[in-house]
Structures are given as C-alpha cells and as structure tokens.
Symmetry: C2
Subunit: 125 residues, 2 copies
C-alpha cells in the first residue's frame, strides 16, 4: 500500500463524490484497514471517530456506496472516492450531507435540497 | 457564526470544488478566523498545519479561488466551497490535487491528468 500521511489518530479524511453528477456527498475518515477494505471490497468502509469502530456505509440504511474510482492528492493525506450512491448519503434524509448554505458571516442561511428519503422509515428497518 | 465542530487543533477540513465542472480540486484546513476571512473576502484563506500560518490560496501563484458558494454538512465538521479556480489548484501543476489513481491494493497506478501549468515558472515569480 502507498505511504499515506495519516493524522495523529491514524486516520485521513475521505471525500465521497457522486460519479454521475459530480455532487460531493459526504466526508468521513478511514484508517489503513478501512482503506484496504474499501478498495478491495469496492464499497465504502469508514472508521467512526465517535464510536471507535468500522462502519460499512449503508449497513443499516441499505444506502451503500459502490466504489468506482479512488484517487489520492499531492500530499497523500486525503482520498477522493467516486461512487454510485444508492439512496442518499446523509442520515438526515438528504442526497448529500452538504446542504446547509453559509452566508458571509458563517451562519446557516438556508437548506439547499429537499429531503430525498424519510430517515425515520429508512433507519427503523 | 454557526457553531462548527472543530478538531483538537481548532481546525476543520474544507473541500474545494470547481463550480463550473464539479471537479474536486483540493482539501485544506481552516480555523474560525480563516472561515471568517474566506466568507467575507470571498477568496479561500487556509490555515497551514505545517507552517502554522494563514495562507491565501494563490498569493504566490496567482491561482486564487473566488468563493461562490459555501456549505456545511449535517455534523458541522466539514465545509464544502464552490469556487472559480484561476489556473490550477495543485502546487505540482495539475488542475486538481486528486490525480493519483489508487488500485485495489491502495498503490498509485497512474496519474489521471496532464499538467495544466509549469510549477517551476509559476512559483518562481
């Protein structure tokens, strides 16, 4: 495996992008094992900093991310993955997690998307 | 300002995306002051973890990023900024920093872009 530059916790940020329309869907973290699993199993596996465990995106919602292309940057401290996103990426029900628009003072001014699915239904399955 | 969730160093990752074609150009870090400056001055200002100082993207290369839209995610721990990128984002001369494709074992298999500018010329100015 390439010598990635992990942070002090052994993690690096991973940007997930919709391969079809280029929408940035989410950012989460991977350690070495999560990178290995994601690239070999071809679906996103992250490391949760709050829960201290691996999680397969979509394991409870069914909203898996099929990995099409993975790239690292010039500093090898970030990964960009282009995926086919089933359902929506955001646990609040949006297609993307990035829907909270900031104004010039850094306050949230509006939500840019309609909800794509009902999280109460999807996460109660 | 919105209550962002900064990491232990008071920083959060910021994804920079080309507003025209959706290409993810780079990821860098901002603290509260860098966010304030970026959103009010309408050009990307980052905080360098290695140099412990603020840097205006393009200050030496001229490759500034004009901020068009800023969004935060559901956890308020990441920001996505859509920009008009002058020149290229990568200090190696590529349009995007994410040009190093990873194979299924996590090794770099190829470079996905041609260089967009000559870094030796641009950074010697």
């Amino acid at each position: 495996m390439h010598s990635f530059k992990f942070n002090d916790q052994g993690l690096l940020p991973v940007i997930i992008q919709d391969s079809e329309n280029g929408e940035v869907l989410m950012l989460a973290y991977m350690d070495k094992i999560a990178i290995e699993r994601t690239l070999s199993e071809k679906k996103s596996v992250f490391y949760s900093r709050s829960r201290n465990k691996y999680w397969v995106k979509g394991e409870s919602s069914g909203h898996v991310q099929a990995v099409l292309l993975a790239l690292t940057d010039c500093d090898s401290d970030t990964i960009l993955i282009k995926v086919t996103q089933k359902g929506g990426a955001c646990h609040l029900g949006y297609r993307s997690c990035f829907v909270h628009e900031l104004d010039s003072k850094g306050d949230i001014s509006r939500v840019t998307q309609e909800k794509f699915f009902d999280p109460d239904t999807v996460y109660k399955k």
